[in-house]
């Protein structure tokens, strides 16, 4: 009826009704973007041939990280805890990235045994110190990024000898890894060392069992490989694959009404997730596959 258009009450300013709107958010599953790779190198004279093999194969690691779409940084520290440069990342520049010119050559140039031979193989202590120096005000600051994962790679033909520096080097290292996880996204160690328990031999020489290094790698879920392995490139490819970590958590822009959230993966209703409250996020039990499209539809109260 015409008079409806002109009702007096229609010009009033009452409270808006309690309405709800549906919000859709889309995510494409991709690896966590950043990984910082720290090579901890046994620099005793017996490692010279392993250095050559490592330098020849590091391209496989870099190519693997590139193809995974990761923003990666790579640093090298010596296991020698006696010299003045202990814990300092090697080289100029001392952080290699995907964009660093002649990155493989730079890595190879770092791998030189010191002019005064060392017998110090305290890899766990060196890793701890290098990571400490990567925090505020440290000489390695810049290597560790706040939200990046951490992959520590021990390369040695002997076992760790950090016992003079830490009462329990394995526990001390795992404590450091826990700290890194708390401030970053993930952290683990890998070991390219002599076979446990008997060591190994190859044309490059013999290796003692890397018991402590294997222990920290297994404790953190990293890769364990034999330094007597004929093909370092295959080992380093495995390391790059190990550095690809898919997220399980997808943060939402708004606070949903909790019982009105729907999640689909590539168009299929998803299960195996829960809603986190603060900040609001959908958290999967296991990470969705890389490349899938995740659609979250949820209701938001406008009041």
């Amino acid at each position: 009826m015409a008079c409806q258009e002109f009702g007096f009450n229609g010009l009033g300013t009452g409270d808006p009704p309690d309405r709800r709107v549906v919000v859709e958010e889309r995510f494409v599953q991709a690896p966590l973007e950043g990984v910082d790779v720290l090579f901890v190198i046994d620099e005793t004279p017996s490692m010279e041939q392993e250095f050559d093999a490592l330098a020849d194969s590091v391209g496989a690691l870099m190519a693997g990280l590139d193809s995974s779409g990761l923003n990666w940084q790579l640093g090298v520290v010596g296991a020698d805890m006696i010299g003045e440069d202990r814990g300092l990342l090697w080289g100029v520049p001392w952080v290699i990235t995907a964009d660093t010119p002649e990155r493989e050559e730079l890595f190879a140039e770092m791998l030189v045994t010191p002019p005064v031979p060392t017998q110090s193989e305290a890899g766990l202590a060196a890793a701890i110190l290098a990571l400490e120096l990567a925090t505020d005000g440290g000489a390695n600051e810049g290597f560790r990024r706040p939200d990046a994962g951490l992959q520590v790679v021990f390369v040695s033909d002997g076992d760790d000898s950090s016992a003079t520096l830490h009462d329990d080097p394995v526990a001390a290292f795992l404590e450091r890894i826990a700290l890194e996880e708390a401030s970053g996204s993930w952290a683990r160690a890998s070991a390219l060392v002599g076979d446990v328990p008997s060591g190994c031999a190859s044309p490059r020489g013999t290796a003692q069992p890397g018991t402590a290094y294997v222990e920290v790698a297994e404790a953190t879920g990293g890769v364990v490989a034999s330094i007597c392995h004929a093909d370092f490139a295959a080992v380093l490819e495995a390391l790059s694959a190990d550095s690809v970590v898919l997220p399980v958590r997808f943060e939402l822009a708004e606070v949903p009404v909790s019982d009105e959230v729907q999640v689909s993966v590539d168009g299929v209703q998803a299960t195996g997730w829960e809603l986190a409250v603060d900040p609001p996020a959908v958290v999967f039990d296991t990470p969705p596959d890389a490349g899938v499209s995740i659609l979250v539809s949820y209701t938001v109260a406008t009041q």
């Binding site: 009826m1 015409a2 008079c3 409806q4 258009e5 002109f6 009702g7 007096f8 009450n9 229609g10 010009l11 009033g12 300013t13 009452g14 409270d15 808006p16 009704p17 309690d18 309405r19 709107v21 549906v22 919000v23 859709e24 958010e25 889309r26 950043g34 923003n71 990666w72 940084q73 100029v92 520049p93 001392w94 952080v95 990235t97 995907a98 964009d99 660093t100 010119p101 505020d136 005000g137 000489a139 600051e141 810049g142 290597f143 990024r145 706040p146 939200d147 822009a253 708004e254 938001v300 406008t302 009041q303």
Partner: protein
Amino acid sequence: MIAGLLAAAAAAPLQVWDLTLDDAGLVATGDTLQWAWSDAPAAGPGGASWGTNPDGPYLHDTDDSLVIDLPPLGGATQATLLMEHAYDIAAGDSAQLEIDAGAGWVVVDPIGGYPTAEGFVGDSLGWVDSAFDLSGLGDDLQARLRLVADPSQAAEGWYVRRLELHDADVVAPRITPLVLPSDNQDLVGPYRVQLSMVDTVALVDPTVWWSTGGVPAALPMQDVGNGVYEAEVPGQPPDTVVSWFATVSDTTQEARYPEEGEATFRVYLAAPKGLLADLDGARVATEVDLSWTPPVTPHPVVGYELTEEGGQVIAVDEAATQWPLAPGGSRRFSVRADYGALGQGDASPTVQVSVEVPELDELAPSSVARGERRYVLVQGEGLYLLQGRSTFTLGAGVVVEEADVVDVGTATLRIAVDGGAVAGPRALVIDGPQGVATFEGAFEVLEQGNTPTIVSVAPDAVVQGREVEIVAMASAAFAGPVQVEAGDGLVLTQPAVVSGEEVRFGLAARSDAAPGPRTVVLDDGIRLWGVDITVEAYRAPPQRSCSAAPGVVGAWAWLGLAGALCLRQRGRSWLR
């Protein structure tokens, strides 16, 4: 053959004793008779020869000789005995040639003398030649090689493998250096060469030949007595290498010093010492403190010249300076002293600095117009960027709203250039964990140009508690997928869908959103676009105030009344 002494074969020798073939009839005498001939001695330099105890070190605490019967030399005018021998004799022992011409054994010195007062003592380091002048000794002669060993430790011993007796000048003059010029800072000179030149006959034409690179010039040597000869090379300018050698003749033989090649010395002005590069522990730096010790020199130094290998050169007055490091430089430094009118001195040894220099490879875009908000890529080396620790500034009027550090060398900045920012070039300053890096002129604020903008928005308002689909048109195509920053009180309900210059997205206003104008930000990864939206206050919908129309006349009456009331209401609103 005793090649070292017989420069030219003169007349045939009077006699030759080839001791590599047999013992040649020589006779061992003495306390222990340790001289013996062996075709394969276990000691000494090796090879068939006469030697002292060829089975091992010579015996000590003994006096033994090897006796040689010489032919008559009464008619000889230049009788000379040549000996090819090797010796390794311990200090405290003696090894000498002695002659008995009927009046008992007498020590005979070789031409040029024994190496020590006790004769051939020390180590000859293999076979050597010695010559003895036996002129005027008569016809009934014997010679002997006498080794007198004390009770202390012995050495390898004394071995001889050839003897030749000549009646001719078969020995070249012997030259021994006395005073040789060495490297020096004397620009005036002269530089004295003093040599001992001896022979059994008179010497002729003792000469020093010298050059600084061309044909050697002859410099006759002066006889200053006692077989000593001198010459003086004239003074030379700094950084000059003088090459020289000396010759002398005895008419049949010539001698040369050095025997091969040339001796050299250099005239120079000294280099500063102890060049140090101090970075105070920094691993990244834009300058380095260089210091050094002034040169040790008799000449006044008026300043210094510093050089970076393959790079620039700067002059300084004091023995220290601060060197600005340049990206790509060799970081290898040397310094030389400036001696004023005398010229430049030698360069110091090079010092290498291991340090990184911040370098900006890319700032893209490097110019942004006033009033624009957009992303800028920063990429470089030695920057050591770190999220949360690195700050970026571009001068007054340019706000860096966000900095997203990708890695140590890459960051993306979201900047907003104020409409009143001064146009022109300005510096990018990065303050990070490894220090401050300033890149002068890296960025430029442009006068307002053809900055793309949003040209239409429909609808341009959303009511509290309501949801709308916004369609915005830009003056240029969006660069990629658009992220929408809705802002306070607004909820993005549908992600943006882009088609060329058009973007659509769902937007709702919360019921408690403050009414008024807003700017919704569209982010296409390159640029930030502002979409002006108004949040309107909720107004209750019209309510039915009558249930039936009162007819046409009545309707117009209602219309007039409602219009009047409406105007009144608006008037109140305007007056508030």
